[in-house]
């Protein structure tokens, strides 16, 4: 179990991370989302002991991570990098050895991993002869081949096409099923909802969302309303508690302050009987993300 408590880091006068806390149980996947500069990479670097936090604790199964724990770690850095002129099997073996794996075991398992990520290329090719996406898959294999118990993936989906992104999702799910604690970052919401058990959203270092995907969505309730009626834009806007009105043709998309506002609108809209559409929904994660991004700093 990975436990983060009150993590804070400042660079000079800039607060990069402010009082961040979360836990990841074995077999759980946590998504860390936030815009550029939100503090995602900084969080990872502190877990990896690259930089020292100003305050806060990082505990792995109750004790701080030390060099003893390196072998159970799997880390995919944000900026990828491997040896371009080295043969693929040699370099995977090298990195795996640094995680305490035997070369024999690496060679025995390599084919399976190539198949899993559908790598186009021979094991004895030089890395630079592979396409960028395939190079990235090799990097993923080096991150996962030793079956780490704590997996940290910084923007794993960037640079992958949708087909390969879903291969990666399968890979991550496989690791989850093997009981690993997984944390990954992303600055957009695609893949996140399907993949994550829990989410943290950072904004300028502050935690603005924290919980399971359902908890987060439900905490907002059904505040999105699709409506097609005789009500005009002005009439809709004039309701107390309508934050935003978008329209396409006769159909309007409203953002409400709270789900209760919908009842009021329903009464007004159905005053004259039938209307073609009235649908009140919870916002998607993507919308929550955008709302949070748009909010002024607290």
């Amino acid at each position: 179990m990975l436990e983060i408590r009150g993590l804070t880091k400042t660079f000079g006068s800039m607060v990069a991370l402010d009082d961040e806390s979360f836990t990841i149980q074995p077999g759980e996947i946590m998504g860390l989302i936030g815009q550029n500069g939100a503090g995602k990479t900084t969080t990872f670097r502190m877990i990896l002991n690259f930089i020292t936090p100003d305050h806060g604790d990082i505990l792995w199964d109750g004790h701080p991570l030390t060099s003893e724990d390196y072998d159970i770690l799997g880390y995919l850095p944000e900026e990828r990098g491997l040896y371009p002129k080295m043969r693929i099997n040699d370099q995977i073996a090298y990195f795996a050895q640094l995680r305490g794996m035997k070369v024999r075991d690496v060679n025995a398992q390599l084919d399976q991993w190539f198949k899993r990520f559908n790598v186009k290329g021979k094991k004895t090719d030089k890395l630079k002869d592979l396409s960028k996406g395939n190079q990235q898959k090799i990097q993923l294999i080096t991150t996962l081949i030793h079956m780490p118990k704590l997996i940290i993936l910084d923007e794993p989906f960037s640079g992958l096409d949708p087909v390969n992104a879903s291969l990666l999702q399968d890979g991550i799910n496989m690791m989850r099923d093997s009981g690993a604690c997984i944390i990954y970052s992303s600055h957009d919401m695609s893949n996140v909802e399907a993949l994550s058990d829990k989410l943290i959203m950072l904004k300028n270092g502050k935690t603005v969302l924290n919980g399971t995907v359902d908890e987060i969505r439900n905490s907002y309730g059904r505040i999105k309303l699709f409506i097609e009626s005789n009500l005009t834009r002005d009439e809709l806007t004039s309701f107390d508690g309508v934050i935003d009105v978008k329209h396409e043709g006769n159909r309007f998309e409203l953002m409400l302050k709270s789900p209760e506002v919908g009842q009021e609108i329903f009464v007004a809209a159905t005053k004259n009987g039938y209307i073609p559409e009235f649908s009140q929904q919870a916002p998607t994660l993507d919308e929550i993300f955008r709302m949070k991004v748009g909010e002024a700093d607290a």
Partner: protein, 417 residues
């Protein structure tokens, strides 16, 4: 420890197969081989003129044939035949040795454009024959002749006055010391620069290509740092062992070649096993280590592959500085080189030369070594720390900016703990 070995091994294996390392090791050997070869060819093509000796006395002809080194001797009965041969360019010279009344009045004809014939050598042999003839005339036996010919003895030695004690050393040791001093300066420069830039490049490339982060999530920065150093130093050891082996194998055949014999004839090999030899070795090892650590430090400062050359520059600059000072010492001692010879980095190339030239004593050298060792320990400790902060900082602003942010990060890390 185990992971350090894995890193060292990877560095070693990667470089030992690289064209640049193989070239580094082989090029001095090839260069030396080629120059010895050319020297040998030049010498052998120049120094073997063919000379025709004309005499009616077989003993005289034989005397010349046996005792003219570096010349091919052909024996002739008649002057005409010899001269014809010279006109056909088969001979470079014709030496006629008629004997009249037991006196020798030889006559040498040299062919214009022929190979150089040493008249001195011919003169010597002629005098020898003349002497022999005179001795026979005077009824001297060979012992008497020997006694007559014995030259007076002149022995020379240089006296070193060291702390009021005079000690002697012979002229040969002096030249050898000087030769070694020159060799040391050059070897030091070549090895520190080559291996220094190898380390800087190794680290800078790894950092520039962002492999560093992956590695540092599997091993500590210190482990990686020392692993890399160990890998490169292992290459150096292999390099030196290879040279030693080569010398061992090639020694006998090489010593048969005239030019090598002349070159090394003045060399006193005792110097190599003397205290001076030991000190030279210690300085060499210290220099390589210190420069390697510096190289690791500058290598860890780069932000991208393009800056790798910048990482190598400080090493070459300090290396050249040491070289220049060492050359200066060969021109004479001065206060500045005296001071410089106690400093780390440059001292390692300056002090051995001062020692070899007898400007410094063995005691001075040990002091300089002590200073260097202490510096090396502190410097390594500092570098290992700085390295940890450096390797994850990417500053596009260039080198100086990187250095500044290194210090600020080291400070911040200290405060955080």
């Amino acid at each position: 420890m185990h992971k350090m070995l894995i890193i060292a091994k990877q560095v070693f294996m990667k470089n030992v197969r690289s064209a640049s390392w193989i070239f580094l090791v082989l090029s001095p050997v090839l260069l030396l081989g080629i120059s010895i070869g050319i020297g040998h060819l030049v010498q052998s093509s120049q120094s073997k003129p063919t000379i025709g000796v004309v005499s009616s006395v077989p003993a005289i002809r034989k005397n010349f044939a046996d005792s003219l080194p570096g010349m091919k001797v052909k024996e002739y009965h008649s002057q005409d035949k010899a001269e014809t041969a010279m006109q056909n360019k088969k001979l470079d010279a014709v030496l006629a040795v008629p004997i009249k009344n037991g006196e020798i009045a030889a006559n040498l004809q040299l062919r214009d454009g022929g190979k150089v014939v040493s008249t001195k050598t011919i003169q010597a042999v002629l005098s020898q024959i003349q002497l022999q003839a005179q001795a026979t005339k005077l009824n001297l036996n060979s012992e008497q002749l020997q006694a007559l010919l014995k030259p007076a003895v002149l022995r020379s030695k240089t006296v070193v006055v060291d702390h009021g004690k005079a000690s002697t050393k012979n002229q040969k040791t002096d030249t050898s010391n000087h030769l070694i001093a020159v060799a040391i300066t050059v070897l030091m420069l070549v090895f520190t620069l080559s291996y220094g830039s190898m380390i800087a490049q190794e680290i800078a490339t790894e950092k520039g290509s962002r492999i560093m982060e992956t590695i540092l999530s599997s091993v500590s920065a210190t482990t990686q740092f020392f692993g890399k150093l160990a890998g490169i130093l292992a290459l150096l050891v292999v390099n030196i062992l290879f040279y030693l082996l080569l010398i061992l194998v090639a020694w006998k055949p090489l010593m048969k070649i005239d030019i090598v014999k002349t070159m090394l004839g003045n060399f006193d090999f005792g110097v190599l096993t003397s205290t001076n030899g030991l000190i030279f070795c210690v300085f060499f090892i210290l220099a390589v280590l210190t420069y390697s650590v510096l190289a690791a430090l500058t290598g860890s400062l780069v932000a991208n592959q393009e800056q790798v050359q910048q990482a190598v520059m400080p090493i070459s600059m300090i290396g050249l500085l040491g070289y220049v000072f060492a050359l200066a010492v060969q021109g004479g001692d001065s206060l500045i080189v005296k001071i410089v010879s106690y400093l780390p980095f440059v001292g390692a190339s300056v002090m051995p030369v001062r020692l070899a030239m007898s400007f410094a004593t063995v005691g001075d050298a040990w002091i300089s070594i002590l200073i260097s060792v202490i510096f090396l320990i502190l410097f390594t400790w500092f570098t290992a720390k700085a390295y940890k902060s450096n390797v994850l900082v990417y500053n596009q602003g260039g080198f100086l900016k990187s250095i500044r942010s290194t210090f600020s990060i080291m400070n911040a890390e200290r405060k955080s703990k």
